[in-house]
Amino acid sequence: MKKNININFFGTLYAIDEDAYELLNRYINDIKKYFSGKEGGEEISDDIEHRIAEVMQELKAEGKEPISIELVKEIIARIGKPEELCNATDEEEGENSSKAHRGKDWFTKHISKKKLYRNPDDKMLCGVLSGIGCYAGIDPLWLRLAIIILTIVPLPFISVSLFSALLVYFLFALIIPEANTPEERLRMQGKPVTMETLNEEIVGNADGTNNTNVKNSKRGSLFDVIIRICVILIKCLLVIFLGWLLFGGTAILLICTFVICLLSFAMYGHPLELASRMVDADSILLNFIGTNGYAWISGVAFIIATIIFIYLVAHCIARLFNKGKSMGRIIWVYICIFFGTLILGCVSFYNLTKDIITEEDRIVAFRESQRYQTDIDREKEWLKGHGWEVIAHEHGDHYVKMHEHYSGDYSKQYIDTHSNNPNMVYTLERSVRTSPGIYTLEAAVRTDGAGPEIYAYNYRNDRLSTPFPVYAQYGGEIWEEATKKMNNTSTATDEVKRLAEAHHGKGYGWSRIRIENIEVKNDSIIRYGVTNRSGGTGYWNGTWFSAADFKLIKVQ
């Protein structure tokens, strides 16, 4: 039984056997190829094609339809093989034999190179090993045995060997094309692709006689049965493996896509964050292109990668059951697109996360700026709580500070302000009810410029004051005293040690100053304060000052 097809050849329909058609097609292609490089080659091959049509028309007129492979062979013999044709035109040729040799050379050079194909005639799964065997000239049986041993024999890293073998097989099945045409089969076997061999291959295949491999696989020995069982086992494993790959890979890719969507939504949903972006209008556009753009790119890339991944794995599974056609070279395009989109997705995702971090920073900065306002309130609250009244506060950026207390205690607050503006004024005052007597006011202070002083009023309303010594941010009398005490073991208490070690052992510039002989009489109220301006309105040439530990000591 032979398959029979109809072809339209220069406007005439011919019934032709399939194998005959294949041979004829191949012949015409060879002619075209052969003449393609030569002067007027296209015209020549066109003329010859016309001639073939004419001969076929004769055959049709004689009623020799459908055209069999024998008739095609006759036509080829009559018209001549490509390498026979040119000799007549080549001016000086050598002997016939050398011409034939030249023709063969041309063939071996251009067409017949051994190529790696999957062998469809002798396959267990996809014909990968059979094809490799053909290529390397090894009986595929040995390769199969090797793979089975690799896969099944319990090695210490059994799962590794098992899955790597399966994975490699799966990749090969995907990448290596199947030898479907007689030409490909010849190349797979490394036979020269000439008219004769092609003929043999086609005729032989049609008759099913010269295919030794078919006989091979039909052997019914016990050994063969074992191999078949193993093949079924591997097939099952492969399906499970691919199934997991399909499931797991798809899940991972989808999760990535989902996370990206979620992230971009989350970033655009937060009201506080939205408000922060309103702070500078330029960044809205920038954010959209940056963050949202990356989210879009990586999202789309991951979706494409997912689709291609599903398609490839599904295709592979289908191929395991001999369904679906081999994709051939196009598979590389898919693989390239898959990895391309995957890389693009990952890079965009990375940029996205980077953006999210900066976005977070922005939120933090925004909260800081808000906190600043509330801190000022809290500072005033603290002053009020400690009985201080703000007499003047101009240009100074804050009221109270911590972190640089002379004791080294970061959490201790003290009066402090700072400004680069020379017009800064900061004056605090406190009224304390006490019993009559003579008092000494003591305070720890520091400054980076002359001007600041502590002051107090006695019962006659005289203003007594003591200026701050200028040490700026380092040293200070308190620290100096403490370091001196540290040299003597008897005075080196824990407290002294703390004082000496403040500011990494350099001191914060604090000194203790006093106003002595403050007389208090009947009204029993003592008023004292601190200001950065000598006499309350005088000179000031620093940028900041601090004060803490105000103490009234009753002397008499």
Binding site: F10, G11, H50, K81, N96
Partner: protein, 119 residues
Amino acid sequence: MNVDNAKSQMRKGMLEYCVLLLLSKEPSYASDIIIRLKEAKLIVVEGTLYPLLTRLKNDGLLSYEWRESTQGPPRKYYALTSEGELFLTGLDSAWNELSTTVKHLKTKGNEENETSTTN
């Protein structure tokens, strides 16, 4: 083997001349020429003719025109150009020379043979 080889070489040399000769009588298309050449056993495979025709055409010795055919696609009818005719006259004289030489050689050889046998 050597005889066949020599024969095919001779035919090959003759082929161009014969094709031009055929076309000088009347314009004809490739298949007609093939039939005539096959009768004369000048070609073995038909395909040989086409490269030759194309070459002669490209050299300006031949020209062709398309003619509708009652059966199948239109055909190329080849004819000699004036240049081709000139070329053919040249070949004609060359051929005449050759054939006289061959004839002469043959008769001379025969005479010698005859004389040698009679002697």
